[in-house]
């Protein structure tokens, strides 16, 4: 079954200045299909359109052209959002709340009852190993701990589809390893994962398929199983125009 499908999805940013405007093609006629229960990696240099695609899928950005469908429903669709978990590259929270309070708040927005929320928050805090700091304000958290809260808010409502934007960005080696293990465990549980990264080694360790984005265009999709040669070479050749 197809989890995500895009049809000529296009996004052009228009930055308006006083008398002029500048257009940037962030995504150009993207046609992509991602199977469910698989990990799909979006590989690209900075500014290649990875974050734009993820934001279009969750409705934070509006497409200039084309369509996107998740589980057969056209995006944006409110009911879809309870089936999606989104981790931005730099998750930001309002720092006056504690770890437990922010998760309870997100749980309320997902429509959980108090009992269910209590259970899920406890489970999620355990899962990301932050139980001891549950009553600490987020303002007192380190970057790594904030990343874990970021992951906790993704897992809180047990989504079928996870959209992870540079999930290992800014993490220390131990954090990177834990994140990798989490992604692999989620794949085992049958989740569909779309992750973006510019780190080839991370992508090739966890992904079933990889799409190489360059300057807003999907240059190629690579099946990791049976890939001959190194992904890194394929990637550098693709973005430098040698393939």
């Amino acid at each position: 079954m197809v989890a995500i499908r895009t049809e000529n999805l296009t996004k052009i940013y228009i930055r308006k200045h006083l008398f002029t405007s500048k257009k940037t093609n962030a995504l150009e006629s993207l046609n992509l299909e991602i199977e469910d229960r698989k990990v799909f990696g979006l590989l690209g240099l900075n500014g290649s359109g990875k974050t734009t695609l993820l934001k279009l899928l969750v409705g934070l950005l509006f497409p200039t052209g084309g369509f996107a469908y998740i589980f057969g429903q056209r995006v944006p669709h409110l009911s879809l959002l309870s089936r999606i978990g989104y981790l931005p590259e730099f998750p930001c929270f309002l720092m006056y709340l504690t770890a437990s309070e922010i998760l309870h708040f997100y749980g309320k927005l997902c429509g959980f009852s108090m009992k269910e929320r209590q259970k899920r928050v406890e489970e999620t805090l355990d899962l990301v190993d932050i139980r001891e700091n549950r009553n600490d304000r987020l303002a007192d958290f380190s970057k790594g701990m904030l990343e874990r809260i970021g992951l906790a808010q993704v897992l809180l409502h047990d989504p079928e589809l996870l959209l992870l934007d540079e999930p290992t960005s800014g993490l220390d080696p131990l954090g990177v390893k834990k994140m990798r293990q989490t992604i692999l465990r989620l794949r085992e549980e049958g989740k569909t994962i779309l992750l973006s990264s510019h780190l080839v080694t991370e992508v090739e360790r966890v992904c079933d398929r990889v799409g190489i984005l360059h300057k807003g265009e999907l240059k190629r999709v690579v099946e990791m199983k049976g890939l001959e040669g190194r992904l890194e070479d394929l990637f550098t050749d693709t973005v430098s125009g040698n393939v």
Partner: protein, 257 residues
Amino acid sequence: MKKIFAIAEYTVKENIRHRIFYTIFIFALVVIVSSVIFSMLSPEEETRVILDIGLGAIEIFAFLSAIFAAVGLVLGEIENKSVSLILVRPVRRFEYIWGRYSGILSISLFNILLMSSGLLFLLFIKGWKFDFRFLLAVAFIFLKVVIISALAILISLISTSAISSISATFFLWVLGHVTDHLKYLNHVLLEKGVKITIFLKAIYYLLPNFQYLNVKDYIGYPNPLAGTTIFWQVTYSLVYASAATWLSVLVFSRKEF
């Protein structure tokens, strides 16, 4: 409705943990209490002075608290992108705006009630004879906050910095107290042959008319407040604030994050 309530609750929580909230609140109490000192300057009208300074202080500090909450929380959340983690959940954009707005109003109401209780306590100590219009005056201060909070959210969504949002809201607050002068200005201009009546009328109706809600000026004087006037004042405030909030929803619905 549950989601609006959840966002409102979260707004209140955030606001009461903000240092500026306590600063404004303590400063307000200091001003209210210091009104006793000013009242000594006019011993025959002691309670009148305390009442005027006290209600004035409640209004100004309720305004400041609302403006900082609206600009600080809404614009702050947009600037630091934390709003995106709310919008990627099944939350409609109007629920976010109305939730934030309800939270700001709840905290403002709490502020106003607390400051008013302090003022009432002071007045009773000084032997003031209760006038029910005191309650009306407090209610109308809240109605002004209902309007200015809605405008502050709208301005926060349009402007790009906290300073410009606060300045623009402050400017509207001041203008809203002098809109009646526009009628006089129009009259003077017409006498000099300058015809910009339509323009001035448009500004007059677009700007909030805070002078229309200044019930506190009636306390202690014999002129009564008609029930129908109160009805229209309340209706005006609610319609104006709703229109501004729905306009905010419209602006926010088109925003990308």
